[in-house]
């Protein structure tokens, strides 16, 4: 029988954006609400896995030309860099700093360097899960 995935592919396209936006929301809410880098990264890679299920690996690689192994390195660099950046200000390793800023669209916002560390976690989680899944999927 000829396979016809049009329903699944259309729904995957719509649902992908819902999951990605929810992942970003969970990532940014991690300081005050449940969530954070790990869950956000897992949700993001879950959205990419949904695309991998609906389409094939080549299409996803063409639409999302990211080397996920480089993403692991970038995330580790963010984590180590945030931790080591505190050494420049003569404070112990891993000391975090925060302050309140008046941003044009958000109003009074507190920005914290722990968020950069969380961004590292986010990148590493996406990179590791996607690398595992792609290597398993590519092996014959």
């Amino acid at each position: 029988m000829k396979t016809n995935d049009v329903i699944f592919q259309t729904v995957a396209k719509v649902v992908f954006f819902m999951i990605i936006f929810f992942a970003v929301r969970i990532f940014f809410a991690g300081h005050y609400y449940p969530g954070g880098g790990f869950v956000g990264g897992l949700l993001t890679s879950g959205a990419i896995v949904l695309l991998l299920l609906a389409f094939d690996m080549k299409t996803v690689k063409k639409g999302l030309p990211i080397d996920f192994k480089c993403l692991i390195g970038l995330g580790l660099l963010f984590g180590a860099g945030t931790a080591a950046g505190s050494l420049l200000f003569n404070v112990p390793f891993f000391t975090h700093a925060y302050d309140y800023f008046q941003l044009p669209l958000f109003g009074k916002t507190s920005l914290h360097t722990a968020m950069l560390f969380d961004l590292g976690v986010y990148f590493v989680v996406i990179g590791v899960t996607m690398t595992i899944i792609q290597t398993i999927g590519e092996s014959e």
Binding site: M1, I7, F8, V11, V14, V15, M18, F22
Partner: protein, 112 residues
């Protein structure tokens, strides 16, 4: 105001629980995979949506908390659950699962 919202909340939660129970009975009682899938995907979808809507109205009326996550959950479930049922049914048909012996119609039989 609170009495009206309480009645709506109780109705939504009980209706959702009842529909989920109906879905469970359908999965047990119906004869083959397609009719079971029909019961499970439709009835459980509406049941879960009722329960989520009741929860949403509860937090809106009690705490004044507008939970956009519950609305997103309702929309997400409404989109994905029927598609999941469709994919399961199609996978069952393509792998040759037999229909109930009293079925009278199979439009896909000659489409191979």
């Amino acid at each position: 105001m609170t009495v009206i919202s309480d009645i709506i909340i109780v109705f939504l939660l009980l209706a959702g629980a009842f529909l989920s129970l109906v879905a469970a009975f359908g999965v047990i009682r119906l004869p083959d995979v397609y009719t079971r899938n029909h019961a499970a995907s439709k009835s459980a979808t509406l049941g879960v949506m009722f329960i989520l809507l009741g929860t949403f109205i509860f937090f809106l009326a009690k705490d004044g908390f507008f939970s956009s996550r519950l609305l997103l959950g309702i929309a997400f479930f409404f989109i994905t659950a029927p598609v999941a049922g469709h994919l399961i049914s199609r996978a069952a048909y393509n792998s040759g699962v037999k229909m109930w012996d009293k079925s009278v119609r199979d439009d896909l039989k000659n489409k191979k």
